[in-house]
Each structure stands twice: as structure tokens, then as C-alpha cells.
Assembly symmetry: C4
Homo-oligomer: 387 residues x 4
Amino acid sequence: MTIQIGRGKAARRAYGIDEIALVPGARTIDPAITDTAWGLGDLRLEIPIIASAMDGVVDVTTAGRLSQLGALGVLNLEGIQTRYADPQPILDKIASVGNEDFVPLMQQLYSEPIQPELIRQRIQEIRSLGGIAAVSATPARALQFGRLAAEAGAHLFFVQATVVSTDYLGAPDLPTLDLAQFCQDMPIPVVLGNCVTYDVTHKLMAAGAAAVLVGIGPGAACTSRGVLGVGVPQATAVADCAAARDDYFQETGRYVPVIADGGLVTGGDICKCIACGADAVMIGSPLARAQEAPGRGYHWGMATPSPVLPRGTRIRVGTTGTLEQILRGPAQLDDGTHNLLGALKTSMGTLGARTLREMQQVEVVIAPSLLTEGKVYQKAQRLGMGK
Amino acid sequence: MTIQIGRGKAARRAYGIDEIALVPGARTIDPAITDTAWGLGDLRLEIPIIASAMDGVVDVTTAGRLSQLGALGVLNLEGIQTRYADPQPILDKIASVGNEDFVPLMQQLYSEPIQPELIRQRIQEIRSLGGIAAVSATPARALQFGRLAAEAGAHLFFVQATVVSTDYLGAPDLPTLDLAQFCQDMPIPVVLGNCVTYDVTHKLMAAGAAAVLVGIGPGAACTSRGVLGVGVPQATAVADCAAARDDYFQETGRYVPVIADGGLVTGGDICKCIACGADAVMIGSPLARAQEAPGRGYHWGMATPSPVLPRGTRIRVGTTGTLEQILRGPAQLDDGTHNLLGALKTSMGTLGARTLREMQQVEVVIAPSLLTEGKVYQKAQRLGMGK
Amino acid sequence: MTIQIGRGKAARRAYGIDEIALVPGARTIDPAITDTAWGLGDLRLEIPIIASAMDGVVDVTTAGRLSQLGALGVLNLEGIQTRYADPQPILDKIASVGNEDFVPLMQQLYSEPIQPELIRQRIQEIRSLGGIAAVSATPARALQFGRLAAEAGAHLFFVQATVVSTDYLGAPDLPTLDLAQFCQDMPIPVVLGNCVTYDVTHKLMAAGAAAVLVGIGPGAACTSRGVLGVGVPQATAVADCAAARDDYFQETGRYVPVIADGGLVTGGDICKCIACGADAVMIGSPLARAQEAPGRGYHWGMATPSPVLPRGTRIRVGTTGTLEQILRGPAQLDDGTHNLLGALKTSMGTLGARTLREMQQVEVVIAPSLLTEGKVYQKAQRLGMGK
Amino acid sequence: MTIQIGRGKAARRAYGIDEIALVPGARTIDPAITDTAWGLGDLRLEIPIIASAMDGVVDVTTAGRLSQLGALGVLNLEGIQTRYADPQPILDKIASVGNEDFVPLMQQLYSEPIQPELIRQRIQEIRSLGGIAAVSATPARALQFGRLAAEAGAHLFFVQATVVSTDYLGAPDLPTLDLAQFCQDMPIPVVLGNCVTYDVTHKLMAAGAAAVLVGIGPGAACTSRGVLGVGVPQATAVADCAAARDDYFQETGRYVPVIADGGLVTGGDICKCIACGADAVMIGSPLARAQEAPGRGYHWGMATPSPVLPRGTRIRVGTTGTLEQILRGPAQLDDGTHNLLGALKTSMGTLGARTLREMQQVEVVIAPSLLTEGKVYQKAQRLGMGK
């Protein structure tokens, strides 16, 4: 439904994850017999959760651990891990700086050059832990690092930027990355993103993407909407891009998963993204709260170090449990941030969905969790403030 | 009206109790001549309020007291009362633990086995107080405890889970509860829930339910929406399920009451649920504030003790008066949490409804009590902050 | 437009004053030449503002002062002023009690019987100050006090309750007030209210009301919505009732003013009510902030003293200036609570409305002043919190 | 779409900047090759940002500096700068007074008469710094100061009031400004505003405006909506007025820029205004945070000094960087308030818009950034409150 903002401008209403909820139907299922497996390239993974390529979330150790647990972590090839042979003191420094000095520190730390030999080394370290070596670069660096990563044994390559498109208009004197050519040339599957529309999703799939990342603006450590005004609420973005995936599959017979990325905090958020059509999710802040996380209780966006326009932010997320507790439980918190797999399986059982494909079909209602007066009252109660 | 969340997903807008208000019509009535009575099985009750089967709300004493006052309390057969011969020190411990240790404590306390002889004893204790013995179990335990409870003299049996359906797909090697068979076999009326849709309500009634509990997600001590993404705002859920009740009555001549359960805090909330079509309400936190409540000023959800995925939470509700004050007044608080029966009768008078059936027909408007700037200003005034 | 809350219930969307704003048109006018006069019975008043019949707002002195300023104050015949020969120590006590003891104190103070001779005395005191003697009673007391007040020289009589209707169903053994008969019998104009619908407004006008009060639920000191679930947002209520007034005028040639009552805090709120169709407004809390106000910086609802179901509340409003500053300026505050007449005239000038009748026709937009993230940011800035 | 507020009143839904977001399309562009230039009269300016004619934002020094940076500042001819030969001690006083004494102080300071020779002097001072001398007056003073300013060498003259229209009805004995005559008589371009509707925009353009200012009510230091009830959310106002500009251009061949004024805080807000159709924006509070700003970390509205109805307010905005950092970066803050030009260019690149005209065409979605429960959670995390 098109809405007229004013005489000169029409718009669509888009919905966020906070605005929807899932409706149990006529059937329920024992969570134990639900199946959460999904495929990415040739890999078959038990948990449809990917750890974001962010320096506070994934390093070599967590990448290995995530693979053992049935999930996946992506190492950022343009972050701390490939600029410093020993990232530990750098991460200590980031965790100890005050809020006012954070942006300048990040700008300084990330001005250190990336060392190609460290790219190779990190990939091999992940592999030596038995992990899936998934790594990411921005479009500007993809050509340079892509081949290097593949040769070093990477299993998956992510080309990721705030916004990616197949039609990029660069400065006349600079080379431009041809995504289709890149996917074709790379010997390993390439995941592309982020995007938020049907058309771009379809084009990225046609360019050869092994999966498409969906989500612009909603992340906890992302301030794109404030800085750039850009963003599409995640429920609508996922539903649109999932429609492109289904049409592309109808047209070509190739099923390219859609990965919802950004702004997901709880198990409920993950369930709702899949119900909108996602095949998997990419999450940052919930995993930055793990004991194993390199961020030491902090989480920050990849756009933060920009020397001219920093637009991530650092948030204190705290440390609440192990990666295993967060992904597979048992939960020690009752707020939906522990045992994400258990929450997904319980939700699927409640909703009568045996597989993720069935979960994509469950009924959704628009039900804003707005801060009504009643909610504030309940919140006050939860915080122990009585009346 | 169907709304397109995105190309691949349509949804309905659902409404919560906080989003509606009741409209006085052309007639008003003296509250003294309104009639709030309703029937459940063979019982006729003066107050359409049931105390939730939660350990912080109902024990033997409160069940007896609620019956005396014209209401009803349901004893949870899988909680503290049937695991411990003397529940008092256990309840003391729950009330004295800190927030961070609460979930592990609950997981430990509820791992104690349920003692069948305590089920029998509690039911007899309630009866010896002259109370209505209403007890509840989850579907997994219903077969085992149902017959036992009936033999011990229970008047009503509740089979209650977050979500209940007649079509349950369990693991192949485990027995599954056939709800229709169970209702038929039980010598006492069986109440089933919770559900949120027309179809499931209709099926539960057809299976023989004596009443159906409606509500998933909205409770103060329930975090299903955060953990599982599941939930339907209560005004819509009640209206849908009440329509199923009316159709079922048209088809069969049997009138099966619909009980709204979850998220109701004030007299106004109760009035609004009935105006949406409910015959009665089930409430937890408002009664947990009674001096007689076993929770000692605390309230927690039944899903909290889950060893793998705890998803209730404990809230500090405080103690504000006796059960009698809360249900029948006189009120000492002006915020709608005392004298719930008086509020209902006054609301019915204001709206010109002589009976609950008439109250189900009053006019409703959608009028979100959102936190607008003006409201914040008013709130600040109420809190004594002046400008 | 009818919205389906659920299968069994349809509703209309109603709008509050906080959800609308006024749109300047093609013409602007010098505020100095706008005309705010309106008529009530035979009176012609310069300022379309009436002080609520609340004990914290109107006593003899303020009633006199309001008349001098071109406005009007209504004395509550069932409050402190007619129960106590010397109300000053009583008002001191109300202002000095703590929040927890407030409701019981009110219940005790208002159990003192009303003295008919004090009714007579207060009316004469107002007249001796040269003031318009407007007084109010509830329907139950109207017969008894109406004639008494008229004989004592009252100019206007208000019959006011939370909800008033011409069709009241009382207990069989109690006499019922016939509003039409009462209006006919009374030698002075009778104002009736409150109501919120087209039909009831029309019926009250047909019963002989000199004006109709519109508004249920929205007041700052009113908790009807929380306690009873009852209320209609004020913009919709006023627009509906104003339509009844216009139709009644078409049918009969008698123009009966509609007075918006409840929830109005700022000059902007008053402007918006008139733009929705009101002829005047009744306000409580903004005038309770006057130095002359009997509430000494406090404000409370008339339903508070109810012995069984208190549902007003006491709010601390503070004291910010004289009645003259609040009504006619000059303003010392920039938040819209001083110089309400000046605000109305400036708004009328901005909107090109020369008279209140023209002001009722200005363009309105639905523009929720929701607490968006941006708003919170701005608020924080205003509160001097910087970023 | 027209919505019925009530039987007697229809309204349109209007949208604010906080309710929309921008959608990346199929093309992306290197920000370095985007072009943000725009024209105003004969001037061609690199940055489509104008500093508001407010005493806390623009003085001689900042006007000069803004011109050097590619932007523009407007000097208020009726403020501190033209009433006091040495404004520094006056500005010190404003910055040091407490909140309760602020309004009376402003009323006193602005009662000092405006000195015509200071108007001349300030314009020459700006010119001597190489700056563009843009100055503003209210309609009441425009005739008197307009010619004076033009003779003194001003480049641009702004006639600005809360609301301006070509059809002004004044008191019979006072002369009225004929805007069309004024524009014709003035030897320099005249900018007119503010307005919010298609019709008034079209009329102001037809009257000869060199640009039209759009926005009533939304400013951070503006309380028009609270005091007067007047205001139109900015996204709708800009879209409507931009449609008038396009129609006027079709009819006459003259392109008159539309400048969005009020309520814009971040780079994202600016991007969104342009996407709704604006050619440029006027901002106050973001520039009041500059080290060079005359407000010394404070910002206040132009209507504040009104002797009878003050309706701006003073807000503490703090000081966060130089004008250059705020306009051109590099940014030291990651919240969208530094490097506004960089944000605009990056947003244009992300959205595939090469010029401002293309930026006016990008896709918009309605995506309220409401304070949902999830958002509050994220906020709490950002503030370092963990869970």
C-alpha cells in the first residue's frame, strides 16, 4: 500500500522486527524433533546463526569454537586481526579507553596497514582448530584479498559493505569491482551484502552470490540511520529479499540463502527474522557478550574507524556466559539472550514448524511492542520499583 | 485487513489491551444492579476473576480465601506446593535471593520431584477450607495427575501450557496426550489453554473443554515474546476466540466460556477484556500483591524453572492490601489495582451493561495510550516533579 | 473507518489532542483583531475558558477573580467548600499529607455532611465579589441542590458526573433524575455532562442543556481509563459532539455550546480543542498552578474521595504565577502554560481565524507527537543534558 | 488519504523526519563524485546548509566562517547584534543565567532598541571578512530594514516569521507589508518564510521569493506546537512545498529553492529532508554546538523575547567541535552531528544520487523510529548499562 507523505512524495510503510510477533497455529510439535539445519555453499550447518565479521565478536579462537558448536563465525580481514601480529594488547586498549577518546583511538589503530601474511596466518589458524574459515573484505579490497584468502585455504569469502550493489559508479580513474566476474573467478563460495530490496537481492544472486546478506541500518552498533538517514526496517527488508530468493529459485533452480543481518538481540528476534523468510541470521552484539569474545564486553561497528565519517559506535554489552551457553544453553538468563538454538527449536515447536522452510511460512501479526503506559508500568515492576 | 510486511509476507494488525478504550453509550445503569456472575462447568461464580496457577499467587490458603470471596484460584500441581511438604522456607528463599541468582535457584528448587501424596493433600486442604479445588498440570503430566486429582476431590482440572493444540506432533517413541479423550475420561470439568486463534479455540471446545484460556505472550512475568518471538496482543486474541465460542454455541448449543489470561494489571484491563468478548479473566501479578499471596511481594512465571530455556522472570510487585481489598474493596489505592469487582460494576454501570453478556457488546475505540509528549508531562506531574 | 480488532469485535480509531496539530492556511491575521468571545446562556464571556468544579481549583475568591478576568469558575457544591464553614485548615491538611495517606484522608474529609446553608453562603459570597456564580452538583444531588442554588442567586448550574446520559437505569427503589424535567424546572441555565458521543450530546441538548461538557477519561487527575477502561480521546470526542451541536442547531435554531473538558494542559491544547469544534474548554490543572488556587500547588480529581472506588489522584502541579498571568499574561514561562488567552489569539492570528467559529474550521493534521528517538534527543538537550 | 477524526472533522496524516528512512536502490556511487552544489539567487553554494538567523548561532565571525566553508549564515537584524555595539557581555549574561531567570532576562535584553547604524556596521563587517552578507527581519520591520540592509551591501535579505502569508489581515490603522511589492522593490534577492503548505509556497514564489523557507513547529528551540497547537511534521511539509516548487517551475521556468527549516539535528535528518524534496536546509542547534558559535553552548528561539507570549526556549547544546568539523569533518563524534557534508555525500553515494536533484528522487519508506522495547534495550546497552 502506497502512502502519500506529501504531494511530491509517496512511500511504503516498512516494518521492523519489534513490530511483529508470531502466531501459533493449529499444530504444535515437540521441539526435540524440529530440524534447524541449513546449507551455505557446500556446507551443511546445524545452527542458522553466523557471527558478524566484527573485531569485538570474531577472532581465530571464536571462529573455531563457533564451528564446533554448529554455527559459523566470519573473520574481518580489514580489522585488528590482520593489522597486528598480536591483537591482544590492542583489544585491551579498546576496552579500557573512555567514551570520549574512543573514536580518535579507533581512527588511529585502524590506520595501521593490513599485512597480507597475517591474512594467510589467521586462515590457517582457524583451519588448524578444525574450524570453517570464513573471512570478509570490503568491495574495495575484495580483489586483493579474495585470491589470497582462497589460496590460504578459506572456505567462504564475504564481500560486505553497508550497501552493496552490482551497479557501482566509481571515480573515473579508479578500478571498480565487477561482482559477477569476482564470484566467477573465486574458487570458493562468495557471500554478498548488504542489501534491502528485492531487485538488488535478485541481481546479487544472478551475479553468483552463494548467499545474500540483508539489512541496512538496524544494528545495535550501527548509526547509519542517524548519520545517513538510510535504513529499512528488518521485517520488511527480509520479506522482500526472501521473495527475490524464491523467484530466483523458481527461475534458475538454484536456492541462494538470505541471511538477515543487523539489530537482532534475542532468540525471539531470530525466530521472527526466519518467519519473515530468512534462512539464517548474522548477529553481533549477542555474541559479543560471550566470555570468549575478543571485545572483552564491548562491541563496536565496522564503520567506526572511518577517518572522516565514523558511524558505528561502541557499546558496553557486558559478559554473560560462554559461547556455548549463548548458542546452545543451558540458559542462565531468562531474557532471550541465552540458548538461542533452544529458543529457535522451542519456537518452532510452538508454531508447529518442523523445518526452517516451514518456519518461514508461519503466521505473523503486526503487534508493535510500543512503550505504552501499561508497558512502562510492567517495566517498572520488573525493575523492582513496585508501583 | 491484510497488510503487506514485504513482498513475501502478509500480516494482520493485532491490538493490545493498552490500545483500546471503552465508549459510554446512550444508557447508564446504577452499578448496584449490575450482575457479574458467570458459570464454569456446574459452578456459578460471582466474580469473573481466576487467580493464575502460579506459585507466587495461589497456595491452599489463598485458594480457600478466593472461593469465599466469590472468585477462584488454581493451584499449580507442578510447583512448590507439590514438591515440598512445607513450602514456607522455600518461598522465603525465593523472596530473599538476588536477581542474578534467581534463575539458577529456581532451576534447582524445581528439580525436586513432585510427590503424588502432596497433590492429594493439597486438594483436601482446599476442600477442608470450603474452597473450590481447581488444579492445573501441563499436558505432559495431565494423564498422570488428572485422575489422581479427580479422585482426591478436585472440582476443576486445568491443562495449561504456553501453547496448547489438539494436533500435537511428538517424538515417535513418546506417548501423546489426546485432549478429547482426556476430557471425556475425566470425571470433572477440564479447562484447556492457552491459545490465541479462532481455529484452535473451536477445536479445544470440540475436544470437550469446559472453558478455554486465551492469551500467549502478554503476561507481566512472561517473556515468551522476547525468547520465542511468539505472542498475540490480547484484545485481538480475545475477540477472535470469543467469535469461535459464539459460533460453537450456535452449532452445538453448548456455551464454553473464554478466559482471558495474561498481562492484565488494572480493573480497566479486566473491563476491556470482557468488552472484547471474554467471559472471565485469569490474573497473576495483581493478586500477587495481596498480603495473603505466597510470593511475599514477588511474582514469577511458570516457565522460569526450565532447566534449559527459562523464560519467565521474577518481578517485585510489592504488597498493597488484602485479597478482599484487591477483589472487593474498599480501595486504598486510586490506580485501578484495588476493588476489581467494584471497578467492573462501575464500568458496567457507566457503559449501560447489566450483565457480562451485555458488557461483551459495548463499543470499543482504538485509542493507544502511547507515551506522547503530553503524557510524559502529565506523568511527571503525577510523580510530583512539577514542570 | 471501521477496524476489525478481531473476528468478534470492530472498532473505530479515535484520536487524542496529542495526535493532532493545526495547519496555517493562506491567510494570517493580526492577533489584536481576533475575537474570542462566546456565549453561555445569556452571558457573553471574553475568554472561552472555564475553571473546573474541583476543590483544588475553584473557591469563592478564585470564582470572583476569574469573572473579573473574563473567564468563569465553577464551584463544586459537594466538596470542601460546602462541608466546612472554614475550608482553609482542611485545604492545608490536604496539601501537607503524604501520598500514601492521601486517599484515606480524602475518604474521611469528604464523609463530613454537606451543609445547605453553606451552599447559600458561598453563592452569595461569589456574587458579593461581583462574580458569576456558577455551581455544580452530581445527578444524585441535583434535585436537592438545584433549587437551593437558584434561590440563593446562582447564575448557572452544572449537573456533572464522569458519565451522564438521559437514559439512566437506577435501582428500582430509588428516585431517578429526569434531566429534561430538571432543565425545564430550573429557573437558571443548566449545563450537562460529561459525554463523548454524538447521540448523547444530541439528547442532552434536546433535554434542554444550556451547554454540554465533553470528555471522559483524559484528565490529568482522572484515572477512569485505568480503573474502568472507559474513555475516548478528546479530539474525536469533541469533533463528534460538535457535529451533534451543529445538527441540533440546524434542526432547532438553538446553538448549544460544546465545552471540552479534561486533559488540557497548554494553550496549544486549548487551540486544538477549539479547532476540533469546541466552543470553550474547561480546565483544571493549569489553573491549579495559580497563586490564588485553593489547592496550594496540588490538584485532585472529584472521584478521589469515593469510599469504595477512589479513582482520581492527587498531583503536585506547583505554583507558577497569578491567575492573571496564566489567563492573560504576560507570560513568564515559555511552555504554553502562561497567557492562555494570548496563545489563543496568536494561534488564531497564525491560522487566519478571526472568530472562534472560524477557528473551528481550521485545517488539522494527524501528527503524533510520539516519543521518537529524535524527540528524546531533543528533550535531553532541553533538559541541559547535552548529548 | 483523508481520515475522519470525528464526525465533524477530517484530517490528513502528516509525517515527520523521524518517521521515514531512505532506501538504497540498484545503483551506488563513489561519494567523491557526488555533487552537492545548489543555487540561491545568483549565488552558487557548495553546501546546502544555512545557519539559522538566531543569536546563539550566527554573528559576524560565524557568518564569515560559514561562507569560507561553502555554506551560509544569516544574521538576525532584530537580535543582540544590532541592539548592542558590543554583544559579548550580553551573550555572556545569557549563557550564565539560570533557567528560571532566562525568560525575564531575555524580555529585558530585547527591549533595548535596534540601532540602524549597527545594521550597517554588521553587514560591512561580514563583507570585510569576505563573507556572504545574508540578513533577516520580521515582516513588521522588513520595509524599514530591507532598504537599509541593501544599501549597506547585503547580498540576501530574509523576511522570516513563524508563519508568513501573502494574505495578511492587519489592524485597520497599521500599514501592512505587501510581500510582492517588497520583493520587486528590493535590489537584492529576498527569501520568504516560513510556510508549510503547497498553496502558500506557490503564492510566495509568485510574489517573487528567491527561496522559500519551509517548517513550522519542529525546531528544537521552538515551542509553537505546545503554545499555539500549530505545526506540520517536516517530511510532509517539505514534500508538499517541493511539489509547489516543481509546479511553479513548470508554469514559469523559474526554479525557486525550498529550504527545510527546523528540527534537524543529524546528517541523516538533512539527507531525509532533501529526499523529501528540499533543495537545502536551515539548521540552528547543530551549529550552536560549534566552538565559534556566539551562544557559548546554548541555543534559544527567536520568539523567546516576546514580552507577552515567549515561546522559544533555551537549550543547553554544549560545544563539540569547530564549525569546520561540524560541516566538513573529520568527525570526532559518531552520532551524525559532525561532518554533515560528508554524511550527505556518503548518503548520496549509498543511494546512487549524483546530484541534489537526484537525491530528491530517492525512495523513502515510512519506518517510525519509535521507542519500542527493543530500542530501549539497545539504548541501555549504548549507555553502558548492560542489561
